[in-house]
Subunit: 282 residues, 3 copies
Amino acid sequence: MRSPISSSPSHPFSPSSQIITLLTDFGSADYFVASMKGVILSINAQARIVDITHEIPPQDIPAAAFTLLATYKAFPRQTIHVAVVDPGVGSRRRPILLSASDQFFVGPDNGIFSYILDRESHARVFEITNESYFRKPISPTFHGRDLFAPVAAALSSGLAPESFGREIQDCVRLAPLKPEKLAGGKIRARIIHIDRFGNCVTNLTPAELGSEVIGNGAALEIGRRRIKTIRRFFSEETGSGAEVFAIWGSAGFLEIAAMNQSAAKILKARPGQTVFLLGDNV
Amino acid sequence: MRSPISSSPSHPFSPSSQIITLLTDFGSADYFVASMKGVILSINAQARIVDITHEIPPQDIPAAAFTLLATYKAFPRQTIHVAVVDPGVGSRRRPILLSASDQFFVGPDNGIFSYILDRESHARVFEITNESYFRKPISPTFHGRDLFAPVAAALSSGLAPESFGREIQDCVRLAPLKPEKLAGGKIRARIIHIDRFGNCVTNLTPAELGSEVIGNGAALEIGRRRIKTIRRFFSEETGSGAEVFAIWGSAGFLEIAAMNQSAAKILKARPGQTVFLLGDNV
Amino acid sequence: MRSPISSSPSHPFSPSSQIITLLTDFGSADYFVASMKGVILSINAQARIVDITHEIPPQDIPAAAFTLLATYKAFPRQTIHVAVVDPGVGSRRRPILLSASDQFFVGPDNGIFSYILDRESHARVFEITNESYFRKPISPTFHGRDLFAPVAAALSSGLAPESFGREIQDCVRLAPLKPEKLAGGKIRARIIHIDRFGNCVTNLTPAELGSEVIGNGAALEIGRRRIKTIRRFFSEETGSGAEVFAIWGSAGFLEIAAMNQSAAKILKARPGQTVFLLGDNV
């Protein structure tokens, strides 16, 4: 098989040790992830591949969007993130490429980069249409290997985002990451992720809580339950004996947790569920 | 511990950034896989190690053979694939080394490379007997660390396959990968793999289906069931409403699948089961 | 975010391709492990990161200590092992750094390096107090990313252990690795680990068994059961028909195993349980 890329003299590839991360719902039992890595290394032998995770629940785009949001800032400039949770593979959904925060993001246009776009106001989005960078023949069920991996590898060799297609403004978005200010100082937030320990990650950040710290009169309301305790770390002794408490998570969001238990189970919480932040006078 | 390898002046090792893949049934919870990586990096610090998977069902040689077949072509020339699913470890089964398709394959002689041999007619097979490349003392239960990993690392440093032992012709084989042509245009195929979604991968390739495309009169027969629908991708709307359908999988084989369900469960299918391809006049 | 490290001219970092291993109980579904890798590569882009495992049972320090013990010798000189099983994160438990066996070990002071200290009599231990190497702001719940990863990355760039804090002598230890000699030649050992197949790893090594080989009159006693059969490898035919047998494991310890079954289940064994080695005259 002659590579469609090495045969293209107008696009000389220079190997670089750029980092390419992979985030998928492929699991680690099958040949899928390794095939993507092989394709990347066939194009850029010096690429440094890092797995974010392959255990995103099948087709759970919001979980993928959250996980990417929680980790991209830890990576250096020029990192290329490939995210493939792609229920629409083979259909008309567009493949896209983002340039944001001095990094790149490659994947399907289905909302998976929504939270990056919410955070990074200078982001640019490109539709990937230049088939000369695809693996041939392209499988209609495996764009991870045949489209996203070779595009990322080509990008890691120094190509500009414009090489892959035209800039677009209308990509698919999830509900906004930012909580909504209501009348009377009340704030409507939501659970954006429930992790495997049952911790419920809200979209509340220090920007919303300001001086109005929980426990100092303010509270979270989820369903019929009010949460008034905030802890600094899990093993902290607060004396409050609260079963369920709020804690600043390491992704920068307020989380609802329980000691050695699943807060999600106790609260019967689900992703997307509304959480109100109440001021001390509500 | 003085390395038996660095003390061998007649085999000067030059570090190279060759890719070494690992495919095992060791799981990822124990120290097994990391030990293999440590041994490889102790011998060739520049080796680039890529996991194919460590979640092969325990001792399932055909699953390992299929997974390797499905991914090796994605890797560049000179890649060294180490495959260790090895129920006979410590007994008299032979360790072998293949040179095929400009790549190398290292593992036990139990059929694990059978499908590579079916595909690559110019393959050469060597029995690994040169103990000077083994880690000492060799554990009778962990040849992955003490035999296959150091041999792969030595190979990655530029040694010829002949350095490890003599060429052999009689290695262990699974049932042939190629379907069997019967009288009257009927073809006897089989399920070579069932993936974790319950998709049943057959050994039928475009070579067998030619112009005789399923849906155009031809059909698959498994047990008492006939399958006449073929889809291009999973989310395709065919209007046929068929519960179970055929689809070209990304490994290049015809698969039997069901939308959001396990085809294997619906069909009570099992690995190795016969599937007939019927022409339009059968 | 300006790195606190690159802004420190008195500590010039030189990228090096040193190996950094990671051992945690974080699982592979979340953003935790990838965040640690991103932080490491942001500081030392040339570091070679190897996962030991992230599937240590949550908060199981002895399992982490065993896994590290079983694999560190496979890695080359100068390898840096980062081990984070850390129920006390955010509290007053100390972060420490070991220099032992020409390698480094970074993690919490909770016994996780206990078996390395038992094995390596020349080990030196340092308390990590120099906050200039930490990521800021440091999350009280994620020292893996904000403290241990950046310290390991700084160490991989050639810093001396003394740069991170003062040497200490009083670090936390698990029960000693060495079995206890009792009167009459009896030896009191214990189960230090039960692997996922149910094999029970004891702390007995060839040093304790000497010429007094099991089967040659000697036996193991666990609960009310005596084990008199020792095998060389799993598929060995011994003719003894023993359901449960002893076997030298690849980590260098005597293990209690059962053919295609969980010895732990048969014996109702638990980690830490006492096992006696009886001479032929007991």
